[in-house]
Symmetry: C2
C-alpha cells in the first residue's frame, strides 16, 4: 500500500491537486470525508469538528472569523477526544491497505509508520488570494485585504497544529519529500506532471 500525504497552504490549490492526482493515478482520495467520519464517530456535527480541527478553535479563539462561531470563544481547552478519533479514523483508512492520497488531517505524522510520500503545496499571496476570492464560501471575508489576513491566520494555525501534534514545523522543507509551488500554473497541469513523477517514485 502506498500513501501520499498532502499538506498545503490555504488557497494554494493543494486540495484540488491532491484530488486530481488521485484520479490520475487511480488512488483512493480523502480530504473532507475524514471530518464526516470523525463527526459520526463522535456524534457531533461536521461543522463543529471542522472548526475545532481546521480553524483552530481548540487552540486559539482569535482565529475564528466573524461572529458565527463565537460560541468557541471562551474555550481554550484542547478537545483531545477529537484528536484521538482523528487518529483512529486515519489508522482505519490505512488498515484498509489501499493506495490513497490524503489531504491535510496530519496524515503525514499520524501515518508516519506507513512511510507516506509527503508533499507540501504552496503558492504566492497573489495566487492564493485570487483563488480564495474565486471560491469564497459563506462566512469568509469579502474584502481582499481581510481575505489575505484570513489566509495567513489559517496557515499560522496549521503551523501550530503541526507543532503540537508532531513537534515538527509545518511547511519546513526537511519534513517533506517534495514541495510544489502552484503560483501562476494550472493545477490540472501540475497534477499531470506530479502523477508522472510519482509513477517513477513508486516504481523505483
Amino acid at each position: 500500500m502506498r500513501i501520499i500525504s498532502i499538506n498545503r497552504e490555504f488557497g494554494s490549490g493543494g486540495r484540488e491537486l491532491g484530488r486530481r492526482l488521485a484520479e490520475t493515478i487511480g488512488f483512493d482520495y480523502y480530504d473532507r470525508t475524514i471530518i464526516e467520519y470523525i463527526a459520526r464517530e463522535c456524534g457531533m456535527e461536521d461543522k463543529y469538528i471542522e472548526h475545532v480541527l481546521d480553524k483552530g478553535a481548540w487552540h486559539s479563539a482569535s482565529l475564528v472569523y466573524g461572529n458565527s462561531f463565537s460560541f468557541f470563544s471562551s474555550s481554550y481547552n484542547v478537545p483531545t477526544d477529537i484528536l484521538v478519533v482523528q487518529t483512529k479514523v486515519l489508522q482505519d483508512i490505512a488498515r484498509k491497505g489501499r493506495d490513497c492520497v490524503i489531504v491535510g488531517r496530519s496524515a503525514d505524522t499520524i501515518l508516519e509508520e506507513y512511510g507516506p510520500l509527503k508533499i507540501f503545496v504552496y503558492a504566492d499571496d497573489e495566487s492564493k488570494l485570487r483563488r480564495c476570492m474565486q471560491y469564497r464560501k459563506d462566512g469568509e471575508p469579502e474584502s481582499e485585504q481581510q481575505m489575505l489576513k484570513y489566509i495567513h491566520k489559517i496557515d499560522a494555525q496549521r503551523v501550530r497544529t503541526k507543532e503540537m501534534i508532531s513537534g515538527k514545523t509545518w511547511g519546513k522543507r526537511d519534513h517533506y519529500h517534495l514541495m510544489i509551488n502552484t503560483s501562476g500554473r494550472a493545477v490540472e497541469d501540475l497534477a499531470t506532471a506530479l502523477a508522472e513523477y510519482i509513477r517513477v517514485w513508486f516504481r523505483a
Copy 2:
C-alpha cells in the same frame, strides 16, 4: 529556450541530479564549466575563482577550511569584478538560446528575465554526510564531525551569497517552483521522475 536552474544543499546530490536530468531531457548542462569560463575571462586560476565564489572567501574568511587557502584570510573585500564576469558568462549562455540546466552560480537570479524553472535540492544531514564522505576531495575534512560542520558552513555561505545578490533567502520555498528531498533515494531515479515532471511542465 527553456532554462532550469538548480540550487542545492552541499552534499544533497543536486549537481548529479541536474546533470542526469539534462542528459535525460537533452538540455545543455552547466556547472563547474562556468568557473572555467570566468577564470579564462579574468585571466585567473580556476581554483582561485572557485574559492572566491563558492567557499565565500570574498565574504568571510572564517569559511575557509584548513590552512591551504589561508592566503584569503585577510581579504574581506568583495571582488566584485568576478561577480560581474559571472553575470556576463551566464548572460552569454542564455543568449545562445539553447535549452539548458544550470547548477548553482546564482543563475536563478541572474537569468530571472528568462523565466527559469527554479528547483531546490536538499537532503537530511545523514544522507549529505554519507555522500560527502564517499566523494571526499583533497583538502576536505576527514572526520565525519568536521565534515558535517563543513557542509553547514558551505550552505550558510550560500545563504549569504543569495541574500547579497538577490535579497532573497536561499532555500526558502517562495523562491522556487519545486523543492526535492533526495534523502535515502537514488539520485538516478529522482532524475528520471523529475524529467517526467518537467516534460509536462514545459508542455503545459
